[in-house]
Amino acid sequence: MTPRIASAALAVVAVVVGVTLYLRAGDWAVSAARRRCSVVAALVWIGPAVLLVGVVLVAPAIGTIRTSFLDGDGEAYVALDNYRTILDDDTLRVSLRNSVQWVLLLPVASVGFGLATAVLADRVRYESVVKAVLFFPLAISAVAAGVIWRFMLDYRPPGAPQTGTLNAVVAGLLRRAPIAWLIDRTFNNLALIGTTVWTQAGFAMVILSAALRAIPDDVLEAARLDGASEWRLFREIKLPYLTPTILAVMTTMVVVALKAFDIVYVMTNGAFETDVLATSMYKQLFSYRHLGRASAIATLLMFAVTPLMLLNLRAYRREARARA
């Protein structure tokens, strides 16, 4: 243990000293070269970042795309076979379908809940309590959330005492047959997405709530003086002001949906057609040891996220330009 702590401490010191030295040296080099060209300055300051991103992000990504054209052992070239399998294989197609379902439902539900709470809580005195309650789940790890919801969604046969909260309501209050939430194909994906909404709505709320506060009071006041109803106020003033933020939160949620793994892994591990792309990738890699297919799924996920990132980047630039 002690040598580990020592080497960790050494590493921290080395990084701090190294960065300081680099900054000093860079500063010196830039000021020495200032008159001649600005390229030196750009290289000195961007270089390390580019290098880092290249080594830890770009190179592995290219490696993954490359192996996605190779066979299970990562040796022979198989062209598009892995991608074809993803579309042909029943279980992989199911995970593709489920991921699409996640991408469609999670952002809408999270933003819906977040926005509703942000707007409504803004108008009551116990605002902080409401917000804290919705925010707490964000502080819980996804694995713990999955375990909690497994208990909440527990199923016992009709007639037996229902230990799961939801089925206690369904059977006890509504007098209906209990539902096997995690097994019944009508509900199981929704149950998993719902659990994730529970963990993410708080995040949406916090961001949207901040944006709501940023709306200038005079605009709202003027509208109120003009006799606008609260609904019209929300629709025609608040919503347009919030749109960029809503888009940003939605993009984040789409990314959360695409990389959904832990909740599914803990709650069903993909049984009963609940696999998503990330759990399929994990199984292909570690159970089936099929490097090619796992890489193909990873590549697919990466390209699914890219347009969203570009969209987000553009919205961000537009905003920056508008402010400038």
Binding site: I183, N269, Y282, F286, R289
Partner: protein, 450 residues
């Protein structure tokens, strides 16, 4: 990456409880501590009387009270040697072990029921040959050659059995169960089940949920049925990937299982409840008042789990078992077994000492004393089984003409997981059995491909 696996022969001859049969001696408190003391002395001898210290990481599948009992077996070792055993348990051991080995961060040792995966890793050169670290005398004195053989590749001994379970048992509550305890045949038991169901009580309880390993209890039983219905020879060809899953014998084993499991009147709560119930709670409804079922199929270790769930149950008068009846008179007396092996991946001084300790009869006696598992150690006699069930299980094994390792522990990991999952699919869509088995053939072809 996927190497062709060379697992040893599947047939295992066990001489559990060879010394005496039937009579189980309840040990006194002093007797217990004598066992612990003996184990401590044995561990001391391994350490050469010195404090070795340090720690050994052990990856396994156990949790809850089962884990507590297993760690109890290791406690004298820790005390004597000063080595801390850091046990990490997960049912998803297949994937976790694979990740850690490939990531260059393997655990020092593994305790697993999945021999197939360890054989694969051994072929890749990731597992220490236990013959090099454990004395040949100790191995010869403690273990049947066949049980060493089953955990060997051609060139090495990759695993040492620590616990053994007898499969194919049917658990019941003698205070309420009025059916046959020595049914002539499986059909006779099914017949009794139907009569009971007609009288208004579902006779069976089943629980198949087990996290990442869901479905294994059904797979174990189908495995057991296949062994005793189609015979050991076919069974071995089956798990070696030499006969297709679509063979009529395999279809029949699934359907024999389905005869009970698929019938909503025969199983408490029907298919949905089976799928939603954790295996460890599978037998719980049997002890409700009034009982919701009378029978539960599971290996020896289930007795310990049931008694953990219901500490007040009197073993013998409220809980007992009988061996599942024959499925085929040609193979009467054939029994299935399963168990866990310990393998060493990092031959550190601590990991090696742990393996050496687990090979001693003293550790074996502590395993027997937990009342959960049979010890594979030949020097552990039936007096060590304080638990009445294990004493009887030892007898059943002794009476068996031959005992064989369950196939789903010997297959490659991918196939094992697909087999487990297939049982869930079958229960949900029994009409698609042919497709489900055809899918398994595909997985098998890939898993056994060189």
């Amino acid at each position: 990456m996927m190497t062709r696996r060379r697992v040893g022969m599947g047939a295992v001859l066990l001489a559990v409880g060879a010394a005496a049969s039937g009579g189980t001696t309840v040990l006194t408190a002093a007797g217990e501590s004598r066992l612990v003391e003996a184990a401590r002395t044995a561990a001391d001898a391994i350490a050469g009387g010195e404090e070795i210290g340090g720690s050994v990481s052990l990856l396994g599948v156990l949790g809850g009270e089962e884990l507590d009992d297993f760690l109890g077996v290791l406690a004298p070792f820790e005390e004597a040697t000063g080595i801390a055993v850091e046990y990490e348990g997960s049912r998803d051991i297949g994937a976790i072990l694979q990740t850690r080995v490939e990531g260059g961060n393997p655990p020092d040792a593994v305790s697993t029921p999945n021999l197939g995966q360890m054989a694969d890793l051994a072929e890749d050169g990731a597992v220490t040959d236990l013959r090099e670290v454990i004395d040949a005398d100790v191995l010869a004195a403690g273990f049947e050659p066949s049980i060493l053989e089953v955990a060997s590749t051609e060139s090495q001994l990759y695993g040492l059995f620590t616990t053994v379970n007898l499969g194919g048992l049917i658990w019941y509550d003698p205070s309420v169960y009025d059916g046959p305890t020595e049914p002539e045949s499986w059909d006779a038991l099914v017949e009794w089940s139907r009569t009971t169901a007609a009288a208004g009580v579902t006779p069976w309880c089943i629980g198949l949920e087990s996290g990442a390993a869901s479905g294994w209890p059904a797979a174990d039983f189908i495995d057991d049925i296949l062994l005793r219905q189609a015979g050991p020879e076919f069974h071995e060809r089956w798990w070696r990937g030499e006969v297709p899953w679509t063979s009529p014998e395999v279809v029949r084993a699934y359907e024999t299982y389905g005869e009970i499991a698929l019938d909503e009147t025969l199983v408490y709560g029907g298919v949905t409840t089976q799928l939603a119930t954790n295996f460890a709670n599978g037998a719980d409804p049997m002890f409700a008042d009034p009982p919701a079922c009378y029978l539960h199929q599971q290996a020896t270790f289930m007795g310990g789990i049931i008694l953990s769930n219901f500490p007040d149950l009197e073993p013998g008068s409220r809980l007992d078992f009988f061996a599942a009846p024959t499925f085929n008179p040609d193979f009467a007396g054939t029994q299935s077994i399963s168990g866990e092996i310990v393998s060493v991946l990092n031959p550190t001084e601590q990991a090696v000492a742990l393996a050496q300790y687990l090979a001693t009869p003293e550790a074996g006696r502590l395993v027997a004393e937990t009342g959960r598992w049979l010890s594979p150690n030949l020097q552990v006699d039936s007096e060590s089984y304080t638990d009445p069930f294990l004493g009887r299980a030892a007898d059943v094994l002794q009476d068996a003409t031959s005992s064989h390792y369950l196939g789903n522990a010997l297959m490659p990991t991918a196939l094992v997981e697909a087999f487990w999952g297939s049982t869930l699919d079958y229960l949900e869509r029994p009409g698609d059995l042919d497709d489900i088995l055809a899918d398994l053939d595909e997985v098998s072809a890939e898993a056994y491909a060189d």
